[in-house]
């Protein structure tokens, strides 16, 4: 069972009949989602915010790794760069939009400059080269004390909820992060739902074949790398809004590897998979900590292996199979 390409789950005629019903469902889901922050505890809201933040970083990584098939170990560097850029901007009294612009511009430039030479490499060589990004970024952040606060990190007040909203900090941050995450997901979906998506799929399957069929391999790979980096940068900006603090820890290779792991656990080439992977990455350590603090790491590793073992398509793949199964059972 290695079919990972999505097939339409519902025949066209059926979906036409079900369309009004489907819109009702969408509205209901939206209302529930919007209501959650009002009833959840601040701690839960923070967890949800973090899931969305990492979801954005993972959905970007998916463009490069899942779609284009280029395994990257450098995503944490872009998340960190975005977060530091945002911290600088907020620290100097810029507004959120200006901070986002700075983060995106900085990350975009770095991503393109790194991508142009790096994507010429294939397979594991590319992975190891991207590993240089966190390896380089962590000592750099530690040294540029004036900009980054060194190993202490920087704490800033990113945004405060406007008076008229009457929201607490955690609720306001969750709404803000949620809206931005939704926009990023929508943009990524639209970007891949066409020429670029097909070009990347061709590159993933066979680069030589893609080139022979007129796909501009190098340009599309640079584009995928840049999109991945930009999503990482936006995730960094969101991270700063969520946590109001950044330290070199966010740049570390550990996070880059964790994001890759989360991507595969959630399921590649799937927006839902990115969210599920992020949820796994944020929530499962909490659960394992509760079971037994001393064995937390071991249990987390075992959970990972179990998911990989039984759901090679990731959690999203498992969910899709479950849906298809129930649909068959109830005879539509």
């Amino acid at each position: 069972m290695t079919t990972t390409e999505r097939t339409p789950a519902v025949p066209a005629a059926l979906s036409a009949r079900a369309r009004p019903l489907r819109w009702v469902a969408y509205v209901l889901v939206a209302v529930v989602l919007l209501a959650i922050p009002q009833f959840a505890s601040p701690y839960t809201n923070l967890q949800l915010t973090l899931i969305l933040v990492y979801g954005v970083a993972i959905v970007g990584l998916d463009v490069l790794v899942g779609r284009a098939g280029q395994v990257s170990l450098g995503q944490s560097a872009f998340v960190g760069l975005g977060a530091y850029a945002a911290a600088y901007a907020f620290g100097h009294g810029w507004g959120p939009v200006a901070a986002l612009a700075l983060a995106v511009a900085l990350v975009g430039v770095v991503a393109v400059l790194v991508a142009i030479p790096a994507v010429r490499l294939r397979g594991f060589a590319f992975g190891i080269i991207t590993l240089a990004l966190p390896a380089f970024a962590v000592p750099l952040a530690n040294r540029l004390v004036d900009l980054t606060g060194g190993s202490q990190g920087v704490a800033v007040v990113a945004t405060t909820p406007p008076e008229w909203t009457g929201q607490a900090d955690d609720q306001w941050r969750l709404y803000l992060v949620g809206v931005v995450a939704a926009i990023v997901f929508w943009l990524v979906h639209n970007l891949l739902d066409g020429r670029l998506g097909r070009a990347l799929a061709a590159i993933r399957v066979n680069e030589a074949m893609a080139a022979a069929n007129g796909v501009a391999v190098h340009r599309n790979k640079v584009l995928a790398f840049t999109v991945a980096g930009l999503c990482g940068g936006v995730a960094g900006w969101l991270y700063l809004i969520a946590v109001q603090f950044v330290s070199p820890a966010i740049l570390q290779l550990n996070l880059a590897v964790s994001l890759l792991v989360a991507l595969v656990v959630g399921g590649t080439r799937s927006l839902l998979g990115a969210l599920l992977g992020a949820a796994f990455f944020v929530l499962v350590p909490n659960v394992t900590d509760n079971i037994s603090p001393g064995r937390s790491y071991l249990i987390f590793g075992i959970c990972l292996l179990v998911v990989l073992f039984f759901f090679p398509g990731g959690l999203a793949g498992a969910l899709r199979r479950l849906l298809a199964w129930t649909r068959r059972r109830i005879g539509r």
Partner: protein, 289 residues
């Protein structure tokens, strides 16, 4: 000169682990991120044996045997499931194995720092104006010996030939009647043994702790890729090169210092790969469509 000697010593340890990575890549086409952690497990087993009071040479033999078993079991019980699937899933599975072993070490031995006895006498030898301990000399000698044995093994024995066949084209190998599954098992076992060797060599000079191989793994990955991933000799030469460049650059270029040292081999790797994408000793992949 002193720096070059230090570099070769450091490089030899990276090289031993890089050899393990190359062996796994050659037998299963995977990069095993758990390679270092598996070595740490066997070194901890070795430490326990030392505590019981076994003599050091015997401990080394048992440690290597333990590595062999750990590697073979990991392949058979876990990695086998992911062979033939998307390599990405298999790589993430090796990361999961890494996390599990790390957790296991913390559970069994605790996270505190231990000391591992040296395998060689402590005296210092000097030649050509450079000084090195017997440990350093021994490390280099062991590595050179291992590469020689590996080359002989792969090129001159039936098992070596079978391993190469199974790695090169599993389905053809199966049609020829080779037990591909067992061969993969042997490949992983041998790789783990090499990793264990790297662990034994490095353990006396760094404090024994669950994360001790993490940095070394990065260097070993760089060396394996620089050497071309499928060439044992290339991996070792690349590891020495990395060791030397890192030590010399770290000591002589002030701006690098101790914290940016790890970036040196990676930048070197990037520069060399841009000129030779297949690595120093690798063969260019030719694909038939």
């Amino acid at each position: 000169m002193q720096q070059i000697v230090d570099g070769i010593t450091a490089g030899s340890i990276y090289g031993a682990l890089a050899l393990a990575l190359v062996l796994v890549y050659r037998s299963t086409g995977l990069v095993n991120f758990a390679q270092g952690q598996m070595a740490v497990v066997s070194v901890y087993i070795g430490w326990s044996l030392v505590e019981i009071g076994l003599p050091v040479p015997l401990v080394v033999v048992f440690t290597l045997l333990a590595s062999l078993v750990i590697g073979a079991l990991t392949e058979r019980l876990l990695i086998r499931r992911f062979e033939g699937q998307e390599p990405l899933v298999a790589i993430v599975a090796t990361v999961a194995v890494l996390i599990c072993f790390n957790g296991l070490i913390n559970l069994v031995w605790g996270g505190s720092v231990r000391a591992f006895p040296s395998l060689f006498p402590d005296e210092v030898v000097s030649f050509l104006g450079a000084r090195a301990t017997w440990g350093d000399v021994g490390t280099v000698a062991v590595l050179v010996g291992t590469v020689g044995l590996l080359q002989l093994f792969f090129l001159r024995t039936r098992l070596g030939l079978a391993l190469r066949t199974a790695a090169d084209n599993p389905s053809s190998a199966r049609l020829l009647g080779l037990p591909v599954g067992s061969l993969l098992l042997v490949g992983w076992g041998l790789a783990a043994l090499l990793g264990g060797l790297a662990g034994c060599l490095v353990a006396p000079s760094v404090p024994l702790q669950p994360n001790m191989m993490d940095t070394i793994l990065v260097y070993a990955l760089a060396a394996a890729v620089l050497g071309g991933l499928d060439s044992p000799l290339g991996a070792v030469v690349a590891a020495w090169l990395i060791g030397i460049v890192e030590t010399v650059a770290g000591a002589n270029i002030n701006i690098i210092g101790s914290d940016l040292r790890i970036a040196v081999p990676l930048v070197l790797l990037a520069l060399i790969l841009l000129v030779r994408p297949q690595g120093l000793f690798g063969r260019r992949d030719v694909e038939r469509l």
